[in-house]
């Protein structure tokens, strides 16, 4: 850090200029290096760049599919941890279940951000996105199923019936042994 500061003190940092001068006209004051021939064939340039672009978009699509399949591993790991947690309601099992529910939700909220670096005109991101969403929904369903096995969801008749008051009787009778 001191070096950088020192250099800054004597004239600033290095700035790198990435502009490509290989297709620029030769009427520049900087002579070309010896052995360098200007291949100013537009078609060759475009194919190379197209190839590069194709390679790039292929790479991006592949990466997008990989990212879309990432939740699958997460799903398996979550499934295994939930199976370890058991059927009783303890701190560990509640924690695992809630994290299994929260992870897919937060991932679904950030779908756009996850696929941001792979955004490209040629790459169709809809497929990976749908797969990503589907796998996350699967993770959510797994969490909900675990919640059900713990007995915390009102899916049985007993959950809805245990709050019903007794039915009223139409007839009333009294009496007993004479006083």
């Amino acid at each position: 850090m001191e070096k950088g500061k020192g250099i800054m003190g004597s004239g600033g940092r290095w700035a790198v200029d990435f502009s490509d001068n290989s297709t620029a006209p030769p009427s520049r004051d900087i002579p070309d290096p010896p052995g360098f021939t200007r291949a100013s064939v537009d078609q060759d340039d475009s194919t190379v760049s197209r190839q590069k672009k194709d390679a790039e978009s292929n790479w991006k699509a592949q990466k997008a599919w990989e990212v879309a399949q990432a939740p699958f591993k997460n799903l398996l790991m979550m499934g295994f941890m939930m199976w370890m947690a058991g059927n009783t309601v303890h701190l560990f099992s509640i924690g695992i279940t809630f994290s299994a529910l929260w992870q897919p939700i937060s991932a679904l909220q950030g779908v756009g951000k996850v696929f941001e670096p792979y955004k490209d005109n040629k790459v169709d991101l809809l497929g990976p996105k749908l797969l990503f969403i589907a796998l996350n929904l699967g993770g959510l369903a797994l969490g909900v199923w675990k919640l059900n096995t713990l007995g915390l969801l009102p899916t049985h008749a007993s959950d809805w019936v245990s709050s019903l008051p007794p039915a009223q009787e139409v007839e009333y009778s009294g009496g007993g042994i004479p006083l």
Partner: protein, 823 residues
């Protein structure tokens, strides 16, 4: 001297009604005199040491005898003849019985009506009572009777107290309208008074009934006397030197019925507690408390501090409590007196001697029967006072006319009283109230007519709306028949003022009288609240309880088994328990316990019955539980229908539809013999229940209902263990820490009553007998209120410390982030 029975002589074989047993002082003889038939006088002379019969004489008297005899001398008694107008002096000296007659009209000028002898053990004195006039007569010898006193006032003569050699003193107490006159005289000298005192007495204790005297020697060697008088309301007073030294309300030892009443609502601006107006008193109070803290207080100061603390304590305030712990217990005693006890510390708030239950010309032998809540104001709680209804009857027979009395529970004054023309065989409180919040009651008389009270037209219209839904049943245990009745219409040919309805018999259950005898019946309490109709068991299965207020539990024993325990063999006795629907007469469940015997104590709550009896085969007491469930609702398993509310589980049900019930029952051994069983009750019915068992040792044991669960098994599954089912053992455990009465005993325990408080986790328990006991119970521990010693200061400090920590760390982290960004 050790209480061992030396000898016994039974006179019943000779059909002798023993009237008096006389032992002349200083001799070894006992004279037993009595009447063999209405005109035969018998005298037996028995040796006191060995029971040997020495002499037996009898003599007949043509005029017959009436009432009691009074011994006047060691060998003379006085009796009345059968008309009640002639006094007979009977002497049996030397084995010869001789009668001497003296008509009462010779002694008293204007006497009329039959007389009654008031026996007294004072030598030579006896009293007769003739229609409210009491006459004291002295007997000089066999034939000379002399009237010494004649008075209209209520008089009582004490027993003789021997003060010095040969001298006997006795007390004569007379109750004039507001004063009690006490005179102590020597037995042989009527005209001299050893002591003459008067004490002011107001009428709320009734008239004097008995007097007992005791003597002490004063400093100047003369005799002083104190008298213990027993009043009509069973209270005791000690009179000494012209004033009442102490008094005891011993009528509370014979409580017949108990009900509760709420205290007045606390009004803003009106403080019920006594405020110390005086600054000086306030300063003095604080000085005393300071002295107490610094350990400088003398015993009188400590007593004063205690009494101040008691006066200002919260539990004896006279207003309603937020938790519903402060209530008034209204008790009716056998003497016909109504007391109101405060549940905070048990002091008597007011007491009222009911005139309708006292002996009068109209009612010769009044008996108090029951107490019911009459007016319970909710909407008008600030203006109206609640009142109770007291029902009594004028005689012991079943068709004696009844008497009603309405008493205000805040002031203790009698609002009104009614003497009924009809008898009271049963009282049925109806669940309807009229617009003045009076509860409707139906009184059934011995001719099976139903009378409605209050007799207002509004009550009649409310009643007639529900006319066809009201039924009543009667249990006749002497001939083993239970009959159910319905109402038919207005009575025919009755007095216009009466609101009277005819009833008709609907069904009857006749128990075979040669093999069964009804010994116990029990129903649910009317004001019991049940929280849910479903019981959730293991694996989230549901069983629906059969909750019906019209179920009756009846226990019958074999005829031979209705005697003392152990006097029959197990083959000859059995106990049959029935659950009967009292509207239709259906027997829903019947179970026979072979080889078992009464007495049976039972309690019925929600959908279960617990009953206690004796098992002859196992020589132990047993407790059984029966739980009924409704099978017809078990088809409601579709969750979607239940979520959307498309079920008929809460619609009103009629008992005429076919019931489909299953029952589960189990029996367990129990060590103690019981006197009474009750069950805790709470306002919403959510708290688990405990059975309060009054044992023969006069203590109350709280037994959790989970021990009496018919689904207990020896090896419960994991799901059942989670539900809380205790593994099955053959006997019920008696945990010494679960005695509600701790180390105390409620002497002569007769009944246990539970009252719900406003707080759901707590219930109030009142046990009465000769002693009274009151406590608060929390069967599931107080889950809905903080403990008394909750540390509020610690909570506040923790909250403040956490907030400070949050603020500090927040600023620190912000600063760190800023530094990072600026790097």
């Amino acid at each position: 001297m050790d209480g061992e029975v030396l000898w016994e002589k039974d006179f019943e074989g000779e059909s002798l009604k023993v009237q008096q047993v006389i032992q002349p002082p200083g001799s070894n003889l006992i004279y037993v005199v009595g009447f063999a038939s209405s005109s035969l006088f018998e005298m037996y002379q028995i040796n006191a040491l060995n029971g040997e019969l020495l002499k037996h004489e009898s003599a007949a008297f043509s005029g017959g005898f009436l009432g009691e005899v009074s011994p006047v001398f060691s060998e003379t008694v006085v009796a009345l003849d059968s008309t009640g107008l002639i006094l007979l002096t009977i002497s049996f000296q030397n084995g010869k019985i001789s009668f001497h007659q003296m008509p009462i009209s010779n002694l008293v000028k204007d006497s009329f009506g039959p007389a009654k002898i008031i026996p007294s053990s004072v030598t030579g004195i006896f009293a007769i009572k003739m229609n409210a006039v009491t006459i004291v007569i002295r007997v000089k010898d066999e034939s000379k009777l002399e009237v010494v006193e004649k008075t209209n006032h209520e008089t009582s003569i004490s027993d003789a107290l021997s003060i010095s050699e040969g001298q006997q003193a006795f007390a004569l107490v007379q109750h004039a309208s507001h004063e009690i006159h006490l005179r102590v005289k020597l037995a042989h000298n009527w005209d001299d008074n050893l002591l003459k005192e008067s004490v002011k007495m107001d009428q709320h204790r009734g008239l004097v009934h008995k007097v007992y005297i005791n003597n002490y020697i004063r400093t100047d060697k003369s005799y002083g006397f104190r008298a213990l008088i027993v009043m009509e309301d069973h209270s005791l007073l000690l009179l000494q030197q012209g004033e009442i030294v102490w008094s005891r309300e011993d009528g509370l030892a014979s409580i017949i019925d108990v009900t509760t009443s709420e205290l007045p609502v606390e009004r803003d601006g009106v403080s019920v507690a006594k405020v110390e107006h005086n600054l000086f008193e306030w300063l003095k109070g604080h000085m005393l408390k300071l002295k107490g803290t610094l350990m400088l207080a003398s015993p009188q100061d400590i007593a004063a501090i205690q009494s101040m603390r008691l006066k200002n304590s919260e539990k004896s305030k006279m207003t309603r409590d937020h938790n519903g712990f402060r209530k008034l217990l209204i008790v009716l005693t056998r003497a016909g007196k109504l007391f109101a006890l405060h549940t905070g510390d048990g002091h008597i708030v007011w007491s009222h001697l009911l005139q309708s239950l006292q002996k009068s010309k109209v009612c010769q032998h009044p008996i108090g029967l029951n107490l019911y809540k009459w007016q319970v104001p909710h909407h008008h709680a600030m203006d109206e006072n609640p009142s109770v209804l007291v029902i009594g009857k004028c005689g012991p027979s079943s068709d004696a006319p009844g008497a009603l009395s309405f008493v205000d529970t805040y002031t203790g004054k009698e609002l009104s009283s009614l003497s009924l023309v009809h008898s009271v065989a049963q009282v049925i409180p109806l669940p309807y109230t009229d617009s003045t919040e009076q509860c409707l009651h139906l009184l059934i008389d011995a001719d099976k007519h139903a009378h409605l009270y209050p007799k207002t037209p509004e009550a009649i219209s409310i009643f007639e709306r529900e006319f066809s839904n009201i039924y009543w049943y009667s249990v006749e245990d002497d001939n083993g028949i239970i009959k159910g009745h319905a109402l038919r219409g207005k009575c025919t040919g009755e007095v216009a003022d009466e609101v009277c309805f005819d009833t008709r018999e609907l069904w009857s259950i006749v128990f075979p009288s040669e093999s069964e005898k009804i010994i116990a019946t029990v129903t649910r309490k009317l004001n019991e609240v049940v929280h849910t109709q479903a019981k959730v068991i293991a694996d989230q299965e549901v069983m629906y309880k059969y909750i019906s207020r019209n179920l009756l539990f009846v226990a019958t024993v074999a005829l031979k088994g209705s005697v003392e325990i152990g006097s029959v063999t197990p083959e000859e006795s059995w106990l049959v328990a029935y659950l009967i629907d009292t509207v239709t007469g259906r027997i829903l469940h019947q179970v026979t316990h072979h080889g078992s015997q009464g007495p049976v104590h039972a309690v019925f709550s929600e959908n279960w019955v617990v009953y206690h009896y004796f098992n002859l085969k196992a020589h132990r007491y047993e407790m059984s539980v029966i739980e009924i469930y409704d099978q017809s609702r078990a088809d409601n398993k579709d969750v979607w229908k239940l979520v959307l509310g498309k079920h008929n589980l809460t619609s009103p049900i009629s008992l005429y539809s076919r019931p489909d019930v299953i029952t589960k029952s189990q029996s367990y051994f129990f060590t103690h013999s019981v006197k009474a069983i009750a069950v805790t009750s709470t306002t919403k019915g959510i708290t688990s229940k405990q059975l309060l068992i009054g044992t023969i040792g006069d203590q109350v044991l709280a037994l959790d209902k989970r021990f009496l669960d018919p689904r207990r098994t020896v090896n419960p599954t994991q799901a059942e263990k989670e539900e809380g089912i205790i593994p099955l053992t053959d006997s019920l455990p008696i945990i010494p820490q679960s005695y509600v009465t701790h180390a105390l005993r409620v002497e002569g325990l007769r009944g246990i009553i539970t009252v719900p408080a406003k707080l759901e986790s707590t219930t109030l328990v009142f046990a009465h007998g000769v002693d009274l006991f009151f406590t608060q119970l929390a069967p599931s521990r107080t889950y809905d209120s903080l403990t008394d010693d909750f540390n509020y200061a610690l909570l506040l400090i923790t909250i403040v410390a956490l907030l400070a920590a949050i603020f500090v760390t927040w600023t620190l982290s912000e600063r760190k982030e800023l530094q990072e960004n600026w790097r």
